[in-house]
């Protein structure tokens, strides 16, 4: 039950938004995310978006993995 999945925001109508994952749309609550636009990715847990993800952060994360590897 502590499963959380990444979903893409399609349309925002606070406090909810339509989000998509694997071709399926779902209504999620976005109360917990202050700055949000369509096209953003969020982590959704029990119907609530708990955090936002961006392309920039994903790339930073990949860079971090390189750093971890290089330090080994």
């Amino acid at each position: 039950m502590c499963l959380a999945i990444p979903m893409k925001i399609k349309k925002i109508s606070r406090p909810t938004a339509t989000a998509e994952a694997g071709g399926l749309d779902q209504e999620v609550r976005v109360d917990l995310i202050e700055d949000l636009s369509p096209g953003d990715y969020v982590i959704v847990h029990a119907g609530f978006a708990i955090q936002k993800m961006t392309q920039k952060e994903a790339l930073e994360n990949l860079k971090l993995l390189e750093e971890i590897k290089d330090a080994l």
């Binding site: 502590c2 109360d31 917990l32 993995l65 590897k69 080994l72």
Partner: protein, 367 residues
């Protein structure tokens, strides 16, 4: 999801595994623990255990919210379910958890006529209350810091709409006090922690700094894909080999040092820390969340006088030791024999994220 495949198919996996093997030569046998049901399943699914050197043991700790809900609490919930005016709603896994008696669960209560519904979100339970004004809807709120903000938002909405037939039975738990209790126990034998990425998404990675600071234990906040897990184990091994325990956030695409302040303030608005029973750990000081007095009308415990004792484990069941990482699932005498996912005895076999269910589903075949 941005760069999804890069996280699912780790680059240089072979090289990192070789480095891990070299580091394990320097550390000697180590035991690394994750405390998140999704980690349990990701580790099993990616086959990580079979790729690591024999020196490294990966353990599942108290990270499955359903598994740490004590049997005594379930007995008290079953008693509540007997009231024909009450509709109980909760996450699917919780409906299958046995109490102290064999073959008791909310689903078996439902078969006997109790009103029990499975929901995905607390908001679904709220909708049930609106659709059934003639019934009292009780939402069984389990989970950790990840789940608390959504549950808080749900209670706030019920309060703002003055919904009188809805309440939450709060069994939410707090991670840090439970980890402290686990570490301070006499039989603790873990060398480092993979910290739960989605708890940290809310609490922030800084919430785990007590592990190196207070206990000298290395900790890595980890994501859930193959690359996340592999590189997080590598980072833990490097810290162990260097004898320099620290806190590292590997899951930077989701976890910020300060977490999600909006989520934390919502949790704090509705809940306050309270002592709580954890299966396997007993009563943990400040180990749970209680609904604040201000929202007493939406607190099932106050509304229905709900209280419970810890409750005895089913005979032979090792879940309490499995949850603490002291006994591996396969060492339980019931594992795979009397206790299977089809006919589970303990909660670790019931929940799809439980350590026993993962060990059963992805059994390692010695090559």
């Amino acid at each position: 999801m941005p760069c999804d495949s890069a996280f699912k198919n780790p680059k240089d996996a072979q090289l990192v595994l070789e480095k891990i093997a070299q580091l394990s030569g320097r550390t000697g046998p180590v035991r690394l623990m994750e405390v998140c049901g999704t980690h349990t399943m990701s580790i099993a699914r990616t086959g990580l255990k079979s790729l690591l050197p024999a020196q490294i043991t990966l353990l599942s700790g108290p990270g499955c919210p359903v598994c740490v809900t004590p049997a005594g609490a379930m007995d008290a919930v079953f008693a509540l379910a007997k009231d024909p005016h009450i509709l109980l709603a909760s996450y699917g896994d919780l409906l299958r958890i046995p109490g102290t008696q064999r073959k008791t669960s909310l689903l078996s209560q439902k078969a006997k006529g109790a009103r029990v519904e499975s929901v995905y979100s607390p908001m679904d339970a709220l909708r049930l209350a609106k659709a059934h004004p003639e019934l009292e809807v009780v939402f069984l709120g389990v989970g950790f810091e990840t789940t608390a903000p959504g549950t808080a938002a749900c209670i706030l909405q019920a309060a703002s709409e003055k919904l009188s037939n809805f309440s939450v039975l709060c069994l939410l738990k707090r991670t840090e006090p439970a980890l402290r209790s686990l570490i301070e126990a006499k039989d603790f034998g873990v060398s480092g922690f993979l910290c739960p990425g989605h708890v940290a998404a809310v609490t922030g990675s800084d919430a785990f700094s007590f592990l190196p600071k207070d206990y000298g234990l290395p900790a890595v906040v980890a994501g859930f894909d193959a690359a996340d897990l592999l590189y997080s184990v590598a980072e833990l091994m490097r810290m162990l080999a260097d004898g320099r325990p620290g806190l590292k956030n590997e899951y930077v695409r989701v976890v910020r040092p300060e977490g999600n302040p909006a989520a934390l303030s919502l949790t704090d608005r509705v809940f306050s820390p309270c002592d709580a029973f954890w299966r396997g750990l007993g009563c943990v000081s400040k180990g749970g969340f209680a609904i604040r007095e201000e929202f007493a009308l939406w607190d099932s415990a106050r509304k229905f006088g709900f209280s419970f004792s810890e409750g005895a484990e089913p005979p032979g069941c090792c879940c309490a030791q499995v949850i603490r990482g002291v006994v591996p699932p396969t060492d339980c005498p019931l594992f795979g024999k009397a206790c299977t996912p089809q006919d589970p005895i303990g909660p670790c076999m019931v929940s799809s994220e439980g350590a026993c269910a993962a060990a059963y589903r992805y059994r390692q075949i010695p090559l």
